[in-house]
Subunit: 334 residues, 6 copies
Amino acid sequence: MSQIITFGEVLMRLSPFGNKKFIQANTLEFYFGGTEVNVGLSIAHLGGKVKHITAISDDFIGDTAIAHLNKFDMDTSAIVRSNRPLGVYFLEVGAVMRPSSISYNRSHSAFSQIEPSMVDWEKALHKGHWFHWTGITPALTQGAFDTLKAGLKLAKEKGMQVSADPTYRSGLWKYGVEAKDALTELLHCSTVFIGGVNEINEVLGTDYGYTNEEFIEASKKLMEAFPTINKVFDKIRTSINASWHKIRARMWNGTEFRETQDFEITHIVDRIGTGDAFAAGLIYGLQHYDDFKSMQFASAACALKHTYAGDVNYATTDEVQRILDGNVTGRFNR
Amino acid sequence: MSQIITFGEVLMRLSPFGNKKFIQANTLEFYFGGTEVNVGLSIAHLGGKVKHITAISDDFIGDTAIAHLNKFDMDTSAIVRSNRPLGVYFLEVGAVMRPSSISYNRSHSAFSQIEPSMVDWEKALHKGHWFHWTGITPALTQGAFDTLKAGLKLAKEKGMQVSADPTYRSGLWKYGVEAKDALTELLHCSTVFIGGVNEINEVLGTDYGYTNEEFIEASKKLMEAFPTINKVFDKIRTSINASWHKIRARMWNGTEFRETQDFEITHIVDRIGTGDAFAAGLIYGLQHYDDFKSMQFASAACALKHTYAGDVNYATTDEVQRILDGNVTGRFNR
Amino acid sequence: MSQIITFGEVLMRLSPFGNKKFIQANTLEFYFGGTEVNVGLSIAHLGGKVKHITAISDDFIGDTAIAHLNKFDMDTSAIVRSNRPLGVYFLEVGAVMRPSSISYNRSHSAFSQIEPSMVDWEKALHKGHWFHWTGITPALTQGAFDTLKAGLKLAKEKGMQVSADPTYRSGLWKYGVEAKDALTELLHCSTVFIGGVNEINEVLGTDYGYTNEEFIEASKKLMEAFPTINKVFDKIRTSINASWHKIRARMWNGTEFRETQDFEITHIVDRIGTGDAFAAGLIYGLQHYDDFKSMQFASAACALKHTYAGDVNYATTDEVQRILDGNVTGRFNR
Amino acid sequence: MSQIITFGEVLMRLSPFGNKKFIQANTLEFYFGGTEVNVGLSIAHLGGKVKHITAISDDFIGDTAIAHLNKFDMDTSAIVRSNRPLGVYFLEVGAVMRPSSISYNRSHSAFSQIEPSMVDWEKALHKGHWFHWTGITPALTQGAFDTLKAGLKLAKEKGMQVSADPTYRSGLWKYGVEAKDALTELLHCSTVFIGGVNEINEVLGTDYGYTNEEFIEASKKLMEAFPTINKVFDKIRTSINASWHKIRARMWNGTEFRETQDFEITHIVDRIGTGDAFAAGLIYGLQHYDDFKSMQFASAACALKHTYAGDVNYATTDEVQRILDGNVTGRFNR
Amino acid sequence: MSQIITFGEVLMRLSPFGNKKFIQANTLEFYFGGTEVNVGLSIAHLGGKVKHITAISDDFIGDTAIAHLNKFDMDTSAIVRSNRPLGVYFLEVGAVMRPSSISYNRSHSAFSQIEPSMVDWEKALHKGHWFHWTGITPALTQGAFDTLKAGLKLAKEKGMQVSADPTYRSGLWKYGVEAKDALTELLHCSTVFIGGVNEINEVLGTDYGYTNEEFIEASKKLMEAFPTINKVFDKIRTSINASWHKIRARMWNGTEFRETQDFEITHIVDRIGTGDAFAAGLIYGLQHYDDFKSMQFASAACALKHTYAGDVNYATTDEVQRILDGNVTGRFNR
Amino acid sequence: MSQIITFGEVLMRLSPFGNKKFIQANTLEFYFGGTEVNVGLSIAHLGGKVKHITAISDDFIGDTAIAHLNKFDMDTSAIVRSNRPLGVYFLEVGAVMRPSSISYNRSHSAFSQIEPSMVDWEKALHKGHWFHWTGITPALTQGAFDTLKAGLKLAKEKGMQVSADPTYRSGLWKYGVEAKDALTELLHCSTVFIGGVNEINEVLGTDYGYTNEEFIEASKKLMEAFPTINKVFDKIRTSINASWHKIRARMWNGTEFRETQDFEITHIVDRIGTGDAFAAGLIYGLQHYDDFKSMQFASAACALKHTYAGDVNYATTDEVQRILDGNVTGRFNR
């Protein structure tokens, strides 16, 4: 059976219980996450076959991370082990007007040392038919950028579908390469663009606004600049406060513009990984449904993710489908 | 002092902390519950004298269940001990649009083996003046149905009040008896009906709608068919989502139709046992107040239950009264 | 560097986890609090230099309380140790229409034995430039009243600023002194009044209403009666239910009336210490900003406190400032 | 069925998890205990009928304490409610050479206010045939001493058995009565003495040593001085360290001296309440067995208690019997 | 790569934290176990390739159990899903002379319904070279016995190695078949016997004693009666108490008798699954070492298992080897 | 009052609860530690005045670390904040023959960037009279070595006492400097040597054995080579297994050889920081007692530390003294 390939850093997330600040706490919960592996694990939980490629520490923390991936029946055979430690991030969860805070300890992690020579892409992509990447990986180090580029080029040669989530985060990109240049190169290998006008403006150097008309214009311009891209999906989040959000999405696939309804999350359980749940829902959806149904599926999956603790979306296909059928009142399953 | 009698299975409930799914968890909380014992314990906590009759495993889990009932000063002297295990159910608590899920392990439990010969109803009802039953018990096994029937017949002979909550759950009723036939037999021993048009339609084979007019019509029809019944109480729940509900109630007592105001629960702590809290409030109320006041008391008790973890309503009479007095802003008690 | 002085009882707070009642629980969380020390610790966390004066038990519980104060770099050198135990209070946290409940065990605590001879006020106030007191302390015992009075008289002599939060709580004041008489005496040493028309009516024997006009009138009357007072700040809370509140504030400083916007807290984490967070924000603010900005700062600090567990406001100056800058959507800090 | 009566203070015990000190912790476990109620609850758990008499706070903490007693099916109908708080004690659990530490907050508790007029002893002892008291109660306050004395006098009149555990603790006895005088008066109402040469020396003013011969001499002397006493039981503890103890017992019943074997507890779980478990085992035993068998039963019960967390001995009769049958290797029960 | 096959019930284990009894607890930990799957998971953790065959409930509990097996990279592809619930067992952990207690709820579990027609043994054993079974499975139901028998017959035909751990537990074997008859039939398919004189006496109807000489005699007799068996391994446990054990082993392989040294476990963390860890160590060992080295490896693995919480032996090959190298002082690994 | 100065890295320690492996856990406890700060905090807890100098991350983790140090009333005014993350180490706690494991993530931490220019040693040592250093710091980076060297040279100039704990750990010392050379340079500034023949052999290139005679010889040789050193203290640990150790110490102060008795720790709670507790006890002791009493005090403090969770010795002077007085049976403090 053909596989979906994800590539990127796996981090350990550490948080106090509940809404405590570190300064109050003396116990922590841990999870494993990272934007690309979140996408992969969430697809695996929906029932897709996924292989994740990364570098992980060769110690008991690394063993634990791999056991976590195995738990979802993910293919972990291509993971490289390293004598550097696994990256860590600390999360303080906010509430209402108090934002959550994140502090990263990843700059010299196992993944930070990755080089193209460490991944045998021919073997890794052997059964693959879809490759998902995000803008976090090329932003980390030259080696991560180069390794991803090598993988994407081979994926393009093999005619694989490639989804790109070029999330731009200004705190990264510190090793000397310009975000715009790197993303341009990688987008020329991609077929599905997951992002909105901000991301398009960043790549094209334009300044489109947020209206639907401008979104369609921007998408057309993007497809002109990157002829391999044939679909653009944009997830839109409205934050009432840290505990109460709305989610919707829109798309342009070259011929059709569509929008979803609003999904309202009045009591957020966990905000981390919700964008990744959208991407995972979309990739899973595009294997089984048309573009609009896929976007609806992705939006409902993203909304549901806000109700699970941890980085992964524990929603199943049935659970997502029930939301799409209008069952948003959360009545009991017996 | 005269007692309220409840009869039905006691189950152990097991849930992960917070909103976790089992697949994420490795620790659980446990509670003891079951619709009839929830009613009994909630009445006991309000100050009523209650005896619960059931069959419970003869091991340390059963000892723990009985200790839990003793904690509320419930009369446990008529409980039968069995070498079958206590039934268990697993609960995953949902949030917002994610529903909660329940998985039962009760089909060969201690209670599933109950037979009329195992309960000495004469002795059990000696001090009783009220008997409460629900549609769950006759739906489980022939023995449970027969045992309940024997108890209700004696209660009727003794002129006891009998409240019926004929909750219909289609996943049960698998042992060969028709729900409608069994409930009909049991309702002929009952004096107070706790249920709405759905339950009436189920029993009478009618198809009344949800308006107040149709509710009154249905109630009249029910009283014609079951002349022992002289009061009908209907609790109505509106679910905005799994975390936010509204509760109200209406009644027909042969001469008068009344409705309560809406009780809004914006941040649900625990949804389990809230219907049982309504029944408990009603039974307790009818010992002390008129019909309308009893229904208001029951509705406020039901609303309050949503704020307690576990199956039991930990509200006291004073706490319920304060809600009825309009103190719904949750200001401190010092 | 000059210090802010707080004086009052430190209590140990004990609560079940989450929203449980004691009768369901068998584990507790503990915090240290008390209205004046909450103000002091919250100022310390904002960056102010604070010395707290109190009497604390000379056992391992007292050691733990002092370690908690040290954690915030508070000056604990003037604390008296006693062979009486530390006061304790038990808190059950409510939800929605269920109020929280508090039960105190403080009547013969270490602090209840305090006498003027036990505090060397000359030394204690040596570096002080501000003294904060509340109406709780004089309500406890004659000794607590006398000790506070001695401190305030010296503070007045030294020309210190003195903020008064004369919170009236009818369950206290049992030792024989009239609240009105005692507060009158103490207010004659004070310069900033933190309270509204209720507190003014209590002290003056008047019956002003809640409109802004009446608030201004009442404030003017208060300043006439207590010429040392030159500013009045009033925090107003609207409770939708126990989980959802609104906060705003208003002021009269002799020349100007101002009001803040509403701060809405849709999902309260912890209600305790929020009034103290207002006082702390105000005192901190008045060292750095004009009156109106100080009141805004205090209101935002108070709103933020609702999102932290425990008695202390863990908000930093930056976090408060971001709320004032309109960042109330709780987006991530990365 | 006839009852065993216990009388004494119920305290709330608060401890950090595991072996932590308070200064490291921020969560606690709570239990309810007190030497006499520990004896009562341990007898109730063995299957005896027990009524406990005490004064308990009239708040949610007191409700929780009573619910704890109800859980063991103890008769709580004679308990007095008071507007004073329940006494509290804090426990830090030691290990190896580090001793455990205790800090009490009981001096003005609900029980500290008890007076003879508050207990209707006629009614309380109506079904009683055995009364157990300890030296803690008369050491607390004049009122506690007087109330106990009134109860014991009536017990003597009614010909009840009375067991005395005159534990001498020098930190108590602060209200003006001499320990020796008070204990002498109370022992004149007693029939079974639970204590060793230290306690006998304290009461008689003698200085017997620890040999068996001197123990027998001392016991004879005691029975001369207190002719109602006809049995003396002495539990002997050898502490290797805080985690490793040995227990044995010896007796003189006027005609016979007997000793038990050593019971070795190599890994102590909880040290609190182990002496109370000995007394409970003895009282339970003397209803069913001869003196020597009762002492063996008590010693095994005491040893087992070291393996349970909390104040109460959760051992059942069967579990104690298995120890006496020589099953000390802790093999599985399946 | 060739696989080791295990077959048997997977149960959910539920225990209070620490040494608490259920009657004291309100939170639980859960694990998944069962003697055969414990063996399989422990081999998998040592690095072997293992396939487990069983029937598991088709609900979220079953999903969680399979996720647990996947975590160890076990082959779960042959697992049958059933609409019966997963079996559950409750464990109270003892200490010192207090034994642990177990209560099972497995008699109508998913696995209790297993029938030969439900397992495709040809496919299941396709890559297998070793099959491990225990006496628990044939003791449960006729279907479990028949299904195991079908598997073992095929294993024998295919010339696979078959290890038998015929643990005799008298509380089982209730469905009508004699233990001796069933075990005889199954042992005729087996090549390695894991058991001592008790098990041999049970099967042969003999009464050998515990000396090494009698062990050798008994083993010879067993090999005469069951010519396929060519090795006997006997693990011997000496219990000082429930917290302190010693382990050693002895063997007879037709030509040679050998014994291991004693392994002393002074502070047991978890007793469950330690026999399974011996079997797992032995099976793993026999793939790589000679008979004596395998037995030593198994004994060290068994000893180490006492230091891990849960049913599985989390020891790695390296960790076991270090014990065999004499590193039993537990010095730090840095 | 004069201060004791400690200098070295502060790390965050993360461990699963109890004895779990990471692969089993999903919650962690955290502590702050590091050999030098452990010494400092343990002295502070004994009552000494201590200033710790280090570099700590400028984020909420760093804030929490400093709050932890403040809790002990340690002087944190000389701590440097850095934009690198705080170092982390993961600890799996072993039991019996299973060793504990440690995995470090410190190589690019805040402290790893420290340079002499970042510490104003003149100001830092202003009130200091004692400086404690260990062999961990110079083993980390050139900058750490140079910074320490600068501090020690100034300490020597100022005539301060300097205690050296040259713990040799071969996994460190990777940046190019030879351990022997670096330690030699630093020991020339030191007055008290805490170490045994292993450490002396490492520094001098000798090969003394473990007898008392050879220890004395080695100590004399050391004092010849380093004339500033006038005392040698050697702590000797005997490990029965990971849960059971013995501790004793010996000394040579130029004129006198002395040994302590054995301190046996039969049930270890936490092994981390016990060597640091010895150093802390010694340094504290040498301010108040003669050499032999100081060594006894240090040994008892070290033994006690094994009974506290975390890196710090929570023992007080009184608690240590009681051990020295022979109270090792762990009887209650009331």
